[in-house]
């Protein structure tokens, strides 16, 4: 029998003849077969099935090729994204680094000028002459620039995994009082009432500079979005944790935006333009989390926001 090299249809016809379901004559190069009528129906069905299978396998190959293409494209996009993030972080690190040296020079000279009376100024240092006022302005701008650069640097540290905390024994109440004192000029300028409810010391072991930054950013945030309304700060200690609550009665944050405020470069959209990089709360959250604590937000639009920080002691 001529099995090898026959096409599938011929093979089926030959098989049918063999099992007595039709007749079949094979010459050198043709197969002439006449299957029984019911077998012809079966043949037809098998042929259609064969065609369908061939078509399906073609389709499957095409779909597989497309999927491979999509996967490759996805890989490429992920790689692009990774490179873009890397480039952003690198840029932040370099920019923050490069800005620091000229800023150091500026800050030093401004501090020095503020502390030294001008040659033609009859006023003692710190007196409110026009010269002194201008120096005060200059100093405030340098401080603003410094704060922005320090924030940029923090981003590059945090994204680089380099936020290292050095816990030392400190009193959270003292930190809060120091920060509020430092904000005295701005609080007066904005004519806002800031009250601190901290009846007893709240000692614990935390990174002093970073905890100060948490308080600073939360107070700065409350002043920025507090719409001039009173701000209340509460500090109290429980056996296992310390609680810091900063409450303002300002613009508030809509519910659907509340989980975004802790993201980098976030900013309250209910508010009009506010200066800053939108990094303050993100940095706060990163520091609090690195200290094994947590921060929560309770806010209503037009009623204000309350940030509660829990730090394990």
């Amino acid at each position: 029998m001529l099995w090898a090299g026959s096409n599938p249809t011929d093979r089926i016809l030959m098989y049918l003849a063999e099992i007595g379901a039709g007749r079949c004559t094979i010459t050198d190069d043709t197969v002439v077969a006449e299957p029984d009528l019911d077998m012809q129906q079966v043949m037809l069905g098998l042929l259609v099935l064969h065609e369908d299978l061939a078509y399906a396998s073609q389709q499957r190959a095409a779909a597989e090729a497309m999927l491979r293409g999509v996967a490759e494209e996805r890989e490429r996009l992920l790689e692009d994204r990774k490179q873009a993030i890397q480039a952003r972080d690198q840029f932040l690190a370099i920019a923050a680094h490069e800005l620091r040296t000229p800023l150091a020079t500026l800050a030093l000279l401004v501090d020095h000028l503020v502390a030294t009376p001008g040659p033609e100024s009859p006023n003692p240092p710190g007196a409110a002459s026009a010269h002194g006022q201008q120096l005060g302005l200059l100093k405030r701008q340098v401080d603003r620039l410094t704060a922005l650069v320090v924030q940029m640097l923090d981003v590059s540290r945090i994204t680089g995994g380099g936020l290292q905390l050095t816990p030392v024994p400190i009193d959270l109440r003292d930190v809060v009082r120091d920060v509020v004192d430092r904000f005295e000029l701005e609080i007066t300028r904005r004519n806002v009432s800031v009250t601190v409810d901290a009846p007893v010391p709240v000692p614990g072991a935390w990174d002093a500079g970073r905890v100060e930054q948490v308080v600073t950013n939360l107070l700065s945030n409350a002043l920025k979005y507090g719409a001039g309304q009173p701000i209340e700060i509460t500090v109290h200690g429980e056996p296992a944790r310390a609680l810091l609550v900063v409450r303002d009665h300002g613009v508030g944050i809509p519910e659907d935006e509340q989980d975004k405020v802790f993201g980098p470069f976030a900013r309250a959209t209910t508010a009009r333009y506010h200066p800053g990089l939108g990094l303050g709360l993100w940095i706060v959250q990163q520091i609090v989390q690195a200290s094994a604590g947590r921060i929560t937000l309770d806010s209503r639009v037009e009623e204000g926001s309350t940030f509660t920080v829990e730090l394990p002691r």
Partner: protein
């Protein structure tokens, strides 16, 4: 307590403006300031001349870096007792090869008060 007017202080920073501002301000405070923009030349000057009570050292410098300077200083028995305060804008104290050890760090930018407090502390030792 020593009189700052008699105390030599060395600054090594390759940023001309910052070095000049530091020299100007610390001189105005009564310190006798020697400033170098090139750490290798500072090292030569230290080898030959009188010793400062403190060195203010930048880390990232062209030529000899602050890390290399500190390593060379520590290897020299005459120079290694001089305290060093590192003024740095870097995120890390390591350059990948050296780390600076046993130094006080002042991060750039710093306030005048902070700088004077640190320098004053070493002057009064």
């Amino acid at each position: 307590m020593s009189d700052p007017a008699t105390l030599p202080l060395m600054i090594i920073d390759d940023d001309d403006d910052l070095r000049n501002a530091l020299s100007f301000i610390l001189t105005a405070q009564g310190y006798e300031v020697t400033a170098f923009g090139d750490a290798r030349r500072a090292l030569t000057a230290l080898d030959a001349g009188p010793l400062p009570f403190l060195i203010l050292l930048d880390l990232m410098m062209a030529g000899m870096s602050g890390w290399e300077f500190r390593a060379a200083q520590l290897a020299n028995t005459r120079l290694n007792p001089i305290p060093v305060v590192v003024l740095t804008a870097a995120n890390t104290l390591s350059d990948g090869v050296h780390t600076v050890s046993d130094v006080e760090i002042v991060g750039k930018p710093f306030a005048l008060d902070e700088l004077l407090e640190v320098v004053g502390r070493y002057a009064n030792r």
